[in-house]
Symmetry: C2
Subunit: 299 residues, 2 copies
């Protein structure tokens, strides 16, 4: 079955202690859509400006991503600049140029409205709601968010949480959103805000799922070298919903494996700048890493 | 089979944001010995002063711990004072009174020298070596250490590492010891210092084992309330070696399960001050939590 992905389609200029790469293809929707495309057909909703390189459109197409929902507006593409410290965990934003994303309120193409799996990748919760309201009874809706929206758009975020099946946050966002320092208590509080499924990303420490069928603790795929972690969280949730859409059975049956496959795609993302390494992944390489995680956790 | 545990036998005075508890039974050997005692007979090596409360001797005895190696010296018992912040991850030492531990160089009782499983719990690496040299061909030797010894006794620690099968460190110690920020590369460097088995503790994020038979990633048992984490690492390694000693089969066959059982005992340790909760654990309660971890990680 198909996946709809809405989020940012952006240019990322990224500095690490070892290299500097301007105007890479980035944005939550780009990473998530490519990640999902390994498992299921993907339909993208986003906006780019008239400076958006054609080679990036080709990259989406190479992954079979339907671009009927990709708007082209007059102006500049959303452009983010960030810098990482040596340990790759701490990053700071150098600049954020919103460009055409500032006034983006898309009408979805008619054939998008019945897509069963919906990923509201990281973008303002107002826009996530705007897209969700145009969907006709999706089978499974998952939303990603970030600290910024907890700070500047909390009412919209709380409204969104009442309308999604699953929310993905990182551990510090879970604490921030609930004011609860203990992660397991924070997860309980997030359930009370609406989502039946709460997924907490812990970076190199893996992820925790809290679901009606119980908890699941997943490790991250161990990496000896992280080149650029930008988009890893987006790749994780993209791979996750792609896996769900691409496999028969209920969400409850498939969600644990979906989290493992999401982690695997995120691990490829971290090994190159932007989408460089992710786009070179193969389904066989993904299966290898998923099997490796199985061996790593067996006892 | 039996376990020998050497380490500190101490009094701990612990402050948390919620309570203050002076002169609890503490020390690396106390926590490790009690943890190991759930699975195998334990023989303790340590020193206490003439102020050591008889009720703590009774507590050791209640756990069947052989005390022929517990020296009683004239002077004060090692006394540590520490304070935790609200999130229970950050702690600071308020005072350290070495007392009788300062000049402790034990001669082991003759019947201790053939014990097959040896835990060199956290104490100075010089003393760990002194004990190890008195042992006749142990089957498995595991050492724990801490940042302090990397700073003040590195030559002894490096010598020790050449003579043990396994080393346990936390993630920041692994990075500190090797100068390597990436944990997986740090583990490789620690292997080159001697130990065939490297175990990295990551607190609430679980533990990583690197062994000849491959890596294992274990979660921590999820806790909604941490009362006092003092001794959790000691309980982990104590439970681990106790499990190994108490079960037939090779170390390679049993080490993954041993890590899970170590994590379980550590989880009980965190739920009370000092050894309060650990001593109330039962073998059945331990089995319940180990089964729960199995369910948490299955996919």
């Amino acid at each position: 079955m198909s996946v709809l992905v809405v989020g940012t389609t952006a240019l990322d200029s990224i500095k690490t202690p070892y290299a500097e790469n301007p105007r890479l293809l980035g944005g939550s929707a780009s990473h998530a859509a490519v990640a999902a495309s390994f498992f299921a057909p993907v339909h993208l909703v986003g906006v780019v400006g008239d400076d958006f390189p054609q080679k990036y459109v080709k990259l989406y197409r190479k992954h079979g991503i339907n671009l009927d929902g990709l708007h082209r507006a007059t102006g500049k593409t959303f452009h983010w600049g960030g810098e990482y410290e040596v340990n790759m965990n701490n990053r700071r934003t150098l600049f954020t140029e919103l460009g055409v994303i500032e006034n983006f309120t898309p009408d979805l193409p008619a054939h998008y409205r019945h897509i069963p799996y919906v990923l509201l990748a990281n973008i303002s919760p107002g826009l996530q709601l705007h897209v969700l309201h145009q969907m006709a009874k999706p089978k499974f809706v998952i939303a990603d968010t970030m600290d910024l929206w907890i700070n500047v758009a909390l009412p919209d975020l709380l409204k969104l949480l009442r309308h999604v099946d699953a929310i993905v946050v990182n551990d510090s966002e879970a604490r921030h959103l609930t004011g609860e320092d203990n992660l397991h208590l924070a997860i309980k509080k997030i359930h009370r805000l609406g989502p039946a499924y709460v997924i907490v990303k812990k970076g190199e420490h893996g992820a925790i799922l809290s679901a009606p069928g119980g908890h699941f603790i997943a490790p991250a795929f161990p990496l000896e070298k992280v080149v650029d972690p930008t988009g890893a969280g987006d790749s994780f949730v993209g791979g996750l919903i792609g896996y769900l859409a691409g496999h028969r059975g209920s969400v409850d049956q498939n969600l644990r494996k979906a989290i493992i496959y999401g982690s695997v795609v995120a691990s490829f993302c971290c090994e190159g700048f932007g989408l460089d390494r992710t786009t070179k992944a193969t389904r066989a390489a993904i299966e290898d890493r998923a099997s490796h995680i199985k061996k790593l956790t067996h006892f």
